[in-house]
Symmetry: C2
Amino acid sequence: MDEKKISMVDIAKLSGVSIATVSRVLNKNGRYSKETEERVLEVIRQHDYKVNVNAKGLRTKRTQTIGVIVPDITNEFFSQIVRAIERYVVPEGYTVFVCDSNEDEETEGIHISSLAAKGVDGIIYISTRGDVKKIYENYKIPVVYIDRRPKNAGTLVISDNEMGGFLATQELIKKGCRHILMVKDTKPYSTVRHRYKGYAGALEKYGLPLDPELVVETEVSYAAARQATQEALVAHPEIDGVFCNNDMMALGALHAIREAKRKVPRDIKLVGFDGVSLTEICDPPMTTIRQNTDEFGKKSVEILLRRIHKKQEPNVHDEVVVVPVELVRRQTT
Amino acid sequence: MDEKKISMVDIAKLSGVSIATVSRVLNKNGRYSKETEERVLEVIRQHDYKVNVNAKGLRTKRTQTIGVIVPDITNEFFSQIVRAIERYVVPEGYTVFVCDSNEDEETEGIHISSLAAKGVDGIIYISTRGDVKKIYENYKIPVVYIDRRPKNAGTLVISDNEMGGFLATQELIKKGCRHILMVKDTKPYSTVRHRYKGYAGALEKYGLPLDPELVVETEVSYAAARQATQEALVAHPEIDGVFCNNDMMALGALHAIREAKRKVPRDIKLVGFDGVSLTEICDPPMTTIRQNTDEFGKKSVEILLRRIHKKQEPNVHDEVVVVPVELVRRQTT
DNA sequence: CTGTTAGCGCTTTCAC
DNA sequence: GTGAAAGCGCTAACAG
């Protein structure tokens, strides 16, 4: 009834071999006969035996486990990344610890040291910090940073944010906008800086002046962006295009524009950033810059696993993978 | 430079005591003097020592780890639950494995056996299955089911879905609706059944007929709900209220109604279900039934930890916690 | 091809 | 109050 969990010793006894042989079969290390293999495997199957990952990890210093730290799992953009990471890592036999930092540096620290204590084989990290401590130096755990680019990050996978800002702004310009408002996040993330750079670059390329009054900073939320846009629209009635730092903010802008009795896209055109699902289902569906979250997952997993398996000396040289973004043209431009 | 990871032996040596003592102060097991404690703790702090959870788990059969299985992490409702679970479990020293089943039964199975192999102390499980295998019987891992109620689930934490259906329908009736369309999910989940029951119950209570033609089943997506609503509106122009199985579907309905040139809430009123963020930011903001995801996390963690700590004999009696829902009145009613 | 054996880092009797 | 020592379940020499 309450038989205790079956272990390798049991399997060994039941199949009449030594535990070493069982271990070899399990790990496909060779040096056993076809028949032994079959017998052992059969016994394992019959008893639904599973190796104890703890014990294994204790010996091998591998846990088949990775940690993922995200700022906010309820943000669809981040949950998409988590999902993509899972998609690529589970088939390789890994399980993922998901840690939500709540955009809080201290919480991040707690998560990191807890992940270290659990002996994760690697970490994928979207950092809230501007400057990251050297996790690899401290814990010898390979880390891949994604999305944001903090100082001291070694390996990272990021979107081509500058190109995104450029494409968004260019789209507005090509559709006839001459006075383009950019609604920026106040946070000093690299993503924000790069998108702004793209915005400025596009203006320059098309010979439009960069009016600092048309660049407003605001907290990254629907409500804040809505209000900021509303105020900007009052102060600068000439605005005929808006580029927002992300989709949620763009939705705020959309509603502010509507409130101001201006028509989208007739009077004012609008582009968001990220490509989350709300851009498809808002009214009208929104033009946006889509980030390739699947590729984020794929690339970061690929690099992390390579490092874990030491095919590449960890953090010997920094590696930066830039994932292309894509303009998704819909009905706000 | 490449000093290997510090272990309990090192701490013991450095503080001039035995490893047994170090272990005792670490676990606050008593039987050591105040001074020893301070000395050991100081050394631990200086060297930023962290216990090896693997080794500890090997001895104690506890990993300070729980698994959470969700159907789709990119669905805000589920990611909110994950977040709430984390919020309550991390302070207790646990880390959570998040597993996305992609609404697929086979994937769920893979996750479960992988979680078992990792030796999680417990599992919180939103199952896609109608009937669940007895995880506790097979693996001796305590499980708390949440949100959905599959057959054979022991302990579970669910919303008062029937009450939700009732409240939604009652709200529509009280605002004057007489022909209320219900857009249901086709899946046979308990949540769907109960919401329907509440809908029917409200109609009955207020003496309105239950017209089977006004109950349509559709895939759970924005697009499907939009189309279903559109068709229903054509077939039944008398419809003056719509209750949807979830918010995403309600948004589809909202747009179908607008497409049909009917005004919300003037001509047709609308209530969703879940209370995700889109209900606040759609236009007009939507009346909905809010599920208390925080309470989901809190209660399920509470019960799970109680079982893990054997304060309660696991699954001896089934326990059902029903979390109240709440009508959030906004501008679609 | 197969078995023996020494630990991995920790908890927990059992002595003192 | 403290230490010695026996494993937890597994891998990886090493010896045959």
